[in-house]
């Protein structure tokens, strides 16, 4: 019996038809085939996730930085207002200090003290002063140098306070 061999059909690739111009255009806009996407290997999917997460992280970071910058701006603004308030308080306190300084000086003025003593307290100058004449003995020698009514502490206090007084308005 003769065996007739039938050639098996060979799948040869069909010659590709040159697409027409519109077809070419249509083909070009097909950027992603859903089937192919589904067919992505596992490693590719992981890379995509990482990228997505990185993007989200970047966005979050930018948002956080923006928020932090805003918070800093708010803090700076608050501090600025607080600084302005403190400066105003300091200026008020300095004004008060100066006014009290003037008031003390006025209250201490000899004219006012004398007027108060004479008019309000009824004091009068003594009719005379009794002097004790010392004799040239040891007892007559002053043991302490004659003290001046100088109050160096006043000047010292002032020299300490003066540079502290602010120079802002």
């Amino acid at each position: 019996m003769a065996v007739v061999a039938f050639p098996l059909p060979v799948r040869t690739p069909a010659p590709r038809r040159q697409p027409t111009a519109p077809e070419r255009n249509r083909e070009a806009v097909k950027l992603v085939r859903p089937a192919r996407t589904r067919a992505l290997p596992r490693a590719g999917r992981a890379t995509s996730t990482v990228r997505r997460r990185a993007a989200w992280g970047l966005v979050s970071l930018i948002a956080a930085v923006a928020l932090a910058v805003s918070a800093c701006q708010v803090l700076i603004a608050q501090s600025q207002f607080e600084l302005a308030r403190l400066q105003s308080d300091a200026a008020t306190a300095e004004d008060r200090y100066d006014r009290l300084r003037l008031q003390v000086a006025e209250l201490e003025s000899p004219g006012r003290i004398m007027a108060t003593a004479q008019e309000r307290l009824g004091m009068v100058p003594p009719p005379g002063v009794t002097y004790l004449t010392p004799v040239p003995s040891e007892s007559a020698t002053p043991t302490v140098a004659p003290a001046r009514p100088s109050d160096e502490a006043v000047a010292d206090d002032w020299s300490r306070i003066k540079p502290i007084l602010a120079t802002r308005p």
Partner: protein
């Protein structure tokens, strides 16, 4: 579809183009103008006024200090109803309504309405919340002790510039350096966060610590004022000095209130100028001390040397006489001084000669400023010996024909008190710098004029003047006072000769004579009675009595 798309693209392109044009206009063409406009709205440059230095007495008590007060100002360009505004403001700030209308109607962005108002008025103005009206802080000068030592301290103007006295002399140091603050502010005047541009702080002025003692100054002015009133004098001057240092402890210049004085003003008030250093007078007999000291220093006489003294003496074409008639008699130099003999002084001057007399007058500090550098300080008037007339030697020997300031005469007496060594007077003891550092001023210049022996001899003669001569009323219980009276005629204004019946009465001296601590001089202008021993000596006694207690200067120990 395409048409709509094209229209949209076109519209967007046009919009974008317009925006680009606008941006170009804003950012390029009008950039400078708009930037300036914006800065003008929000950037404010404030001058920070420097705090003017204070003036203290020797104990650190304030004699003058500056405080921030509020000045009311307006921006007339934003005021639409000047009449209504003036009507509201006038009673609050105490300025005439018409004046306010005129100021509020000016074509200006800034006008003063009332400067340096008190806090109550400032608060009232603030509460009115009037548009275009604002407050501006400005420093104002205050004298907490009133007019005390005001002729020495001087005055400042409305802009805080020194006009007279120490305020003028030390203006550049007292004034300090104003600062600036350039800042961005919101419409309510609050600083914009982070908007500050530049800040240069002001530097406070230097403080002056004077040599004056506030208590002694008060007592001196009080005693002098009382005597001006009781002797009906036109005015007076009194100075107290510490012998060894030349520090002026008190300096009073008072004058009787003029006819133009406001109602309620005290009858005697501070003189407008520091006459003690700016006004000269012929010293009269207090000058005899110099004639005698010169004669002693030159070895021409000793305190006990006797001279034949008539009560009248013809010199050139003028007959000089002693105050009281007396027979021609032999008087010692001490007696000549004690009796304040004009003829005796003339004879001593004649022995000295004009060159030597002139030389001693200058060595004692006459004819030159004292070194205080006080504004308007006078050097006095001294004739050059070549220009002496026939009577000049005689008149100058007894204290006429020359002119000195009270400060010059005081330092001459202080020279004797200081053992013959001249010490220049001093008014400023120290300065307090902006950083608080206290810098003492240099010690006063010194020079020897007469020997300690001569100074002691002259001092002993001056003690005689107070103990049994013309200056008895200068005595202070428990102390030995040395001093000399003077009663000098006043020259006519703008004419030769002397004013009839017009005299300057004076007393200069020191205490305790044995160990001098204080020198003082008192002058009264045209008092009645006219004599220095009667009107000036008691003031001297009252002032130094207080000063001796204040400075705790004990009387000298005496043998029992």
């Amino acid at each position: 579809m395409r048409l709509r798309l094209g229209a949209m693209v076109m519209a967007l392109a046009m919009g974008f183009g317009l925006l680009t044009l606008r941006v170009g206009q804003v950012q390029v063409l009008s950039a400078d103008r708009l930037e300036a406009l914006g800065e003008d709205q929000r950037v404010r440059t404030l001058e920070l006024p420097a705090e003017r230095g204070s003036i203290f007495d020797r104990n650190g008590r304030e004699l003058a200090l500056s405080l921030r007060q509020q000045t009311v100002w307006a921006n007339p360009r934003v005021i639409s109803d000047p009449f209504g505004m003036a009507k509201t403001l006038a009673p609050v700030i105490g300025v005439d309504e018409d004046k306010l209308v005129e100021r509020l109607s000016r074509d200006a962005a800034f006008v003063y309405l009332a400067r340096k108002v008190d806090d109550r008025v400032a608060e009232q103005v603030k509460n009115l919340k009037l548009p275009g009206i604002d407050l501006l802080p400005e420093p104002e000068r205050f004298l907490p002790a009133g007019t005390l030592a005001s002729s020495v301290i001087g005055q400042v103007g409305i802009d805080n510039e020194g006009l007279s006295g120490l305020e003028s002399q030390f203006n550049s140091r007292l004034a300090g350096e104003p600062g600036t603050l350039v800042s961005e502010r919101d419409p309510r005047g609050r600083p914009i966060p982070g908007g500050e541009r530049a800040f240069r702080p002001s530097e406070a002025g230097t403080d002056l610590v004077l040599t004056l003692d506030r208590s002694l100054q008060h007592q001196t002015e009080k005693a002098l004022a009382s005597q001006i009133l009781s002797s009906n004098a036109d005015g007076g001057t009194a100075i107290v000095m510490e012998v060894g240092t030349g520090e002026v402890l008190a300096l009073a210049n008072l004058a009787r209130a003029g006819a133009d004085a406001p109602d309620g003003a005290p009858p005697v008030g501070p003189a407008r100028a520091n006459r003690a250093v700016t006004t000269v007078h012929e010293p009269g007999s207090v000058n005899k001390m110099i004639t005698v000291a010169a004669a002693l220093e030159e070895g021409l006489v000793s305190p006990s040397t006797e001279l034949l003294v008539p009560d009248r003496l013809l010199v050139a074409d003028h007959v000089f006489s002693d105050h009281d008639p007396h027979p021609t008699t032999n008087w010692s130099v001490t007696e000549i001084m004690a009796q304040s003999s004009n003829i005796g002084a003339i004879k001593l001057g004649q022995q000295l000669g004009k060159e030597r007399l002139d030389s001693y007058l200058r060595q004692f500090g006459f004819g030159a400023p004292t070194g205080l550098d006080f504004p308007g300080e006078s050097a006095g008037l001294l004739l050059e010996p070549d220009n002496y007339s026939g009577t000049s030697l005689a008149t100058i020997s007894l204290g006429q024909g020359i002119a000195v300031t009270a400060m010059q005469m005081l330092t001459a007496y202080n020279t004797v008190a200081n053992g013959g060594e001249y010490v220049a007077p001093k008014l400023v003891r120290a300065t307090v710098e902006p950083d608080g550092a206290i810098n003492p001023t240099p010690d006063s210049a010194r020079r020897r004029v007469v020997s300690p022996r001569v100074a002691e001899q002259v001092s002993a003669m001056l003690v005689e003047v107070v103990q049994r001569g013309t200056g008895e009323l200068a005595a202070v219980e428990g102390y030995t006072v040395a001093g000399k009276t003077g009663t000098a005629r006043k020259p006519r204004d703008g004419a030769r000769g002397y004013e009839a019946g017009a005299y300057v009465a004076s007393f200069a001296g020191f205490v305790p004579a044995e160990s001098p601590g204080l020198t003082a001089i008192v002058l009264l202008d045209e008092p009645k009675p006219i004599y220095g021993g009667v009107v000036a000596a008691p003031v001297f006694a009252e002032v130094v009595r207080y000063a001796l207690r204040l400075f705790r200067i004990p009387p000298p120990a005496t043998a029992t």
